[in-house]
Symmetry: C2
């Protein structure tokens, strides 16, 4: 498999996943970026850590957290050691919603991959070979 073929397969899988994220997000009245922020919350990350995980600037995280906080899904907590740092904490509602989102996304992925055309299947099989050691 050439690097171009690998890139094509990765691009196809990326678009596929993006469509699923968008659909799931809409079902929950959220944006795709918002459910990705929720699912990226491991522990209690700082704003900077969230920005790195999401691949965007830290200035954007402020607004995204604002909007999710105003919906009661998460809160800010001051770091006890370094008072410059704010940490993002899921509320109970946030935990519940994230669990539902993950479950729904997993269902969507499973369903989508069970309905691949032969062409799509062979493309992903080639991707699988390239990824395997």
């Amino acid at each position: 498999m050439t690097s171009r073929d690998l890139a094509t397969a990765v691009g196809a899988l990326h678009r596929e996943a993006a469509l699923l994220y968008t659909r799931v997000a809409r079902d929950f009245q959220l944006t795709s970026q918002q459910i990705q922020l929720l699912c990226a919350l491991a522990g209690e990350p700082s704003f900077g850590e969230l920005a790195t995980a999401l691949g965007c600037d830290k200035t954007n995280v402020t607004g995204m957290v604002d909007r999710l906080q105003s919906r009661g899904l998460l809160t800010r907590r001051s770091d006890t050691k370094d008072r410059r740092i704010s940490r993002v904490v899921l509320t109970e509602d946030g935990h519940r919603l994230r669990e539902h989102v993950r479950e729904r996304f997993a269902q969507s992925v499973a369903e989508r991959f069970s309905r691949l055309t032969p062409e799509e299947r062979s493309r992903y099989a080639a991707l699988a070979q390239a990824l395997a050691p």
Copy 2:
């Protein structure tokens, strides 16, 4: 591999690809969505076909095409059979740029996957198994 594990791996690959797209796009002074529109241009799609391929509303395609057209990368062409339909055509500059973008993205993907940590590699290997027939 459970459907949750599959979804986790797909999500990780999606985020990985998104970061690569963003970086490549910035190198060409474009947005991630713009290079995805360019790369999604197979033949001479209508606006509606583009919207479906990109997973967004047709109303957004108008603006995205406007911006790329003002940079000389593509043009509109009226369908000869149905005058309601406009088709999007890459210019010569557009073809050249798309080729460079694809090459750069392929390089980025190849380089990224050559530097996976053992943990990442095993996660993707599990994904590969789930994707293989």
